[in-house]
């Protein structure tokens, strides 16, 4: 008996970046192009793998659409389990798509202002993908650390005093959050004697009262860690600062990282607390926290004049919306929430990439920007890339900005609107046994208001930038800068046009999330590949 070859694809999203990253370490910084090429090949590989996984998880390839991979060949609660279902696959796809855009964007300038960008980038992907894939709490911690460590490096990549101030904040807060994570995991282990999420879900009903208290404590502390990472008010003040300070391609990747916190909360909460002995625990807190975050993001968006912080608050709003939706606890909302997650991630990321190009309008020339940017880099100043000034560069910027703004504010016709509509529709048309409450209206109002705040704020920014600026010189744009933004926005368009199939897929993902028993059974029943007998100890 041996493992079907396709099965290894589950591992590829972790392994490929790891190997790429290690390989990139070996290549000298002098060979920019070679490094970039390897990095690009790695990301493209990831893209292909995640596409295949999206397909496999939605076909009959695996029972229930759940692919299980027993790392090191130890059965489920004991070894570490990687798991692909529709949700994971689609998140992997999102991550590789975003990575492609960020990487290409970083090609000409950002990857060269410091060393080891490409390795760190691949390791970041490894961490992100691992966090999506793993079904083991401590392994999740490890992948979070991989992701965070790489992000620390990338946030500080080519640092100046602003970036280091923000980086300090980001690092300290995440270090403290990591401690919370560990405390939480330890408590859960003390309570349930397991680290496997599926196993944990299976064990909840068998716990005695004290153990249940311990479990809840652990989950609460764990949630604090995730909620810090997903910037729930009042834990997320680091976010706008960090986004504004990080270099654009990195900030774009961070948009996704913020969502991982939400992703984990969603997974874990639905698995452990959707039914059984502790059903419903903590959902209210998530809901209220999400609402507070939403409100805070709205206020922040209205208040901020700086584009980086605006993007940050847009991300806060989307985090808040997602958390509130998860906390709202209505199964039919999850699918559309995922749709929202994808769209808003793409748009905010595109916006963050765009910002840097937009900023060039404001300075007399791109060279000036390069000058300030390079102020602190002495030994590794890349030569100023000579680009062709695209005619209509300004038009592109304006159009792209409009696209981002439409998605972020949820105005028609792009995916932001579809998501918002879907959300409202699902809120107003609850399934059987669910009722509309006052909280529905609060949520609805807050979402509308956040959209309004987005309109006001982004319009203010756009008008000031594109219309009010005197003697605007069209910036020099590289194809490598234009293409990624276009790609992300095209994905938003695609998401709109193909809203039906996309939403169907996500609904199926969400539905699977709520069938925790099948999930638990699926994970725990995955057989190990029998070991080679002659290789065993006598």
């Amino acid at each position: 008996m041996s493992l079907p070859w396709m099965q290894h694809l589950i591992l590829a999203p972790v392994l490929l970046p790891l190997l790429c990253g290690a390989l990139l370490v070996l290549i000298s910084e002098r060979h920019h192009e070679r490094k970039f090429l390897i990095d690009l090949v790695g990301v493209l590989g990831l893209l292909v793998v995640s596409l295949v996984l999206v397909h496999l998880s939605d076909s009959e390839h695996w029972p229930g659409g759940v692919g299980v991979y027993l790392a090191a060949n130890w059965a489920a609660p004991f070894g570490i389990v990687l798991l692909v279902d529709r949700l994971t696959a689609v998140m992997l796809l999102l991550s590789s798509g975003l990575a492609l855009a960020s990487l290409v964007f970083a090609m000409t300038r950002w990857s060269r202002i410091g060393v080891h960008f490409h390795s760190l980038f691949q390791f970041l992907l490894m961490g992100i993908n691992g966090a999506f894939l793993t079904n083991d709490l401590f392994n999740l911690f490890v992948f979070f650390e991989v992701m965070l460590a790489a992000s620390y490096g990338l946030v500080l990549h080519g640092y100046n005093s602003m970036r280091i101030r923000a980086g300090m904040q980001y690092i300290v807060i995440n270090l403290v959050a990591s401690f919370f994570f560990l405390i939480g995991v330890a408590l859960i282990y003390a309570a349930a004697g397991t680290l496997n999420m599926a196993d944990l879900a299976g064990r909840v009903s068998g716990l005695d009262a004290d153990e249940l208290v311990l479990l809840k404590l652990g989950m609460t502390v764990l949630a604090l860690a995730f909620l810090t990472k997903s910037a729930m008010w009042p834990l997320g003040f680091w976010l706008p600062t960090t986004y504004a300070a990080a270099s654009p391609p990195v900030a774009a990747m961070m948009v996704l990282m913020t969502k991982i916190g939400v992703y984990v909360v969603l997974r874990l909460w639905l698995l452990v607390f959707s039914d059984g002995a502790a059903a419903g625990f903590g959902f209210d807190a998530l809901l209220w926290g999400g609402l507070a975050t939403l409100a805070f993001g709205t206020i922040g968006l209205l208040a901020s004049q700086d584009s980086g912080r605006m993007a940050g608050y847009a991300a806060v709003i989307s985090s808040g919306t997602l958390l509130a939706v998860v906390g709202y606890g209505q199964p039919s909302l999850i699918g559309v929430a995922l749709f929202y997650l994808i769209g808003s991630t793409l748009a905010v990321a595109a916006f963050l990439l765009l910002i840097e190009l937009i900023e060039r309008i404001r300075t007399p020339s791109a060279a000036m920007l390069a000058l300030t940017m390079e102020a602190f880099a002495v030994e590794d100043a890349p030569d100023e890339p000579v680009g062709v000034a695209i005619p209509g560069a300004l038009a592109f910027l304006g159009l792209a900005f409009a696209g981002c703004a439409l998605v972020i504010t949820g105005l028609p016709p792009l995916s932001g609107f579809i998501a918002k509509f879907g959300l409202f529709h699902a809120l107003l048309n609850p399934g059987p046994g669910e009722a509309l409450g006052r909280i529905t209206w609060v949520l609805l109002t807050l979402v509308v208001l956040s959209g309004l705040a987005g309109i006001i704020s982004l319009m203010r920014f756009g008008v000031r930038t594109f219309w009010a600026a005197k003697d605007v010189t069209p910036p020099r744009l590289q194809l490598t800068e234009v293409a990624p933004i276009s790609l992300l926005l095209l994905l938003c368009v695609l998401l709109t046009v193909q809203a039906g199939p996309a939403m169907d897929y996500l609904e199926r993902s969400a539905e699977a999330l709520h069938r925790s028993e099948a999930y638990v059974e699926r994970v725990l029943s995955e057989p190990v590949v029998s070991r080679i007998i002659e290789g065993d100890r006598p």
Partner: protein, 118 residues
Amino acid sequence: MEAVIAISIGVLFGSGVWLVLRPRTFQVITGLLLISYAVNLFIFIMGRLWLDRPPLTLEDGLVDGLVDAGLYADPLPQALVLTAIVIGFATTALYLVVMIGSRGLTGTDHVDGKESSK
């Protein structure tokens, strides 16, 4: 012994928290070190306290070649702590470099990179 280790974890954690809330970068790194001791110990004791029962299932200690799991300390928390120690070391190194980088660029060792206005 249980009480002693419990109190100690509390003291380490409390001292660490106090330091982490201070404004100077070095205080914060000291705090992070102390918190990491506390947290590592905390994870460790989730396997409960075992005296002279290291999880070494040496062949000469086995009865009929079988392992009696009740005779050994819980190895899992130990493995987790080992990972946590190494990761903690790594992050300390990183924070340290950011700390001196920040001092160099901003001219202050305040965690915000500027002295608070008060």
